[in-house]
């Protein structure tokens, strides 16, 4: 781990050096030629930097579950328990100081939000260990869980009883209402960020991936949170409009502060792409 980090440090300073003269010369107007010349070595270093990324944690039974834009997710045994390790991927195109600060902030926000959820009785994974050096987080692995996305897809494909999906939507609405009542904004609500604990029929939901979460009491933020989910929902799962309506209905019924939030949601819907802003 230490060796990789010093190597990465060395590469970073190399890149900063290459970027420096490029910026100066761009300012002087001789940008194009000098910029290209400086960019070439920077690109090479970026290529080499890809291999020098943080190695996977030495957990027994380790397997890479997924590589997202933000982090690599591994599964393995940690201190004798099934755990998930989230290692943030360093973004080399960012300025190193900014990268460090952003990475640390996101890790801290994630840990803080997971604790806040737990304290409020909202189902989220237990945090086992947070490493502020590599900005990685080790969490409880909910063995045998499937994402709501996979569940909806399999129910729709098997053509089975879709009324269970309405109950699922109601449960989701209830869960989100409780989360928003704690003034916790998830930031990345999609059906792949909500898990179903086994057995699936119990509809025991668990929220995951709080990397983009923050604390806010504003109906605007809560409205946007719901809008993100709506967009993700309707684009990933066809013919689920009734499901989402049921979700919002239960949300409105469960949350004490839902009035302004739903109002904002309607307003947010009118914004965005391909929408006419004519008042």
């Amino acid at each position: 781990m230490a060796a990789a980090e010093t190597e990465a440090g060395g590469l970073r300073s190399g890149m900063a050096g290459a970027a420096g003269p490029a910026v100066d010369e761009a300012g002087a107007g001789a940008g194009a030629g000098a910029g290209a010349a400086a960019a070439a070595p920077a690109v090479d270093e970026a290529g080499a930097a890809e291999e020098a990324e943080a190695p996977p944690p030495p957990l027994p039974g380790l397997q890479l579950v997924q590589q997202g834009a933000e982090a690599r997710v591994y599964r393995g045994l940690f201190l004798g328990r099934a755990a998930v390790a989230k290692l943030r991927i360093p973004k080399r195109y960012r300025h190193p100081a900014l990268e460090e600060r952003l990475s640390r902030r996101r890790t801290a926000q994630e840990a803080r939000s997971l604790l806040r959820c737990r304290r409020a009785g909202i189902s989220a994974p237990v945090v086992y260990f947070v490493d502020y050096v590599t900005n990685s987080i080790y969490l409880e692995d909910i063995v045998g869980a499937i994402t709501v996305q996979d569940h909806i897809n399999s129910v729709q494909q098997s053509g089975n009883d879709t009324s269970s999906l309405l109950t699922l939507a109601e449960k989701m609405g209830e869960l989100l209402a409780r989360m928003h009542d704690e003034d916790l904004i998830h930031g990345d609500l999609t059906t792949s960020n909500i898990l179903l604990r086994p057995p699936t029929e119990k509809l025991d939901l668990v929220l995951i991936d709080f990397g983009l979460s923050f604390i806010s009491g504003l109906p605007e933020d809560k409205g946007v949170d719901l809008y993100v989910l709506e967009k993700a929902f309707l684009s990933t799962h066809p013919d689920t409009e009734t499901m989402f309506k049921a979700l919002l209905k239960t949300y409105a019924a469960t949350s004490k502060k839902s009035g302004p939030v739903i109002k904002r949601l309607d307003e947010v819907r009118l914004r965005g792409r391909k929408r006419s802003m004519i008042g």
């Binding site: 801290a108 803080r112 604790l115 304290r119 009785g121």
Partner: protein
């Protein structure tokens, strides 16, 4: 009888737990621990619900020790501090360390590859009976633990007491 676990993130480092009951010389042991003449962390088993709790604390302590960012002066003090849900060091020692009137002691040892574990040495210093860690749940004071970690009633519905405790231990420095 004792429990040993290798820390996955720190290869070569292993944590050993020893539980003693009917301990008669708690006061003398506490004095030795404060002096630093005992190679181990002496913990009050009433505040521990599961060995996993100790492993999480030890993992964090070893991590901070390796990067030189411990809040206390020794690794063993850091383990005791990591168990606490707040950042008050003396409070951590008072609640999680042993007191003169204790009759049970949980000893935690951390060994690196090079050093050899001398269990008999530690066991001989404790005037008590070494028992299996399976007896730990009997020694736990659940009410006291819930109060110390401020576990909410809603929390108890979504997970075990151990879950709540571990979450607080690992996220206390971010809040």
């Amino acid at each position: 009888m004792d429990l040993t676990h290798q820390l996955e993130l720190f290869p070569g480092c292993s944590v050993t737990l020893l539980l003693f009951s009917h301990v008669k010389n708690a006061a003398a042991l506490r004095k030795k621990a404060v002096e630093g003449s005992i190679e181990g962390a002496l913990i009050n088993p009433a505040m521990i619900v599961d060995p996993f709790q100790i492993l999480v604390a030890a993992n964090k302590a070893v991590h901070l020790h390796k990067i030189g960012k411990m809040k206390t002066r020794t690794l063993y003090a850091e383990i005791i501090f990591s168990l606490s849900p707040n950042n008050n060091i003396s409070d951590a020692f008072k609640k999680f360390g042993i007191s003169d009137s204790d009759t049970a002691v949980l000893v935690v040892l951390v060994v690196d590859r090079e050093k050899t574990v001398n269990l008999e040495d530690i066991a001989s210093q404790v005037e008590g009976q070494q028992v299996s860690l399976d007896e730990l749940p009997q020694l736990t004071d659940t009410a006291k633990v819930k109060k110390m970690y401020k576990v909410t009633p809603q929390e108890e519905k979504i997970g075990t007491l151990l879950d709540s405790i571990v979450c607080r231990m690992s996220t206390k420095d971010v809040l």
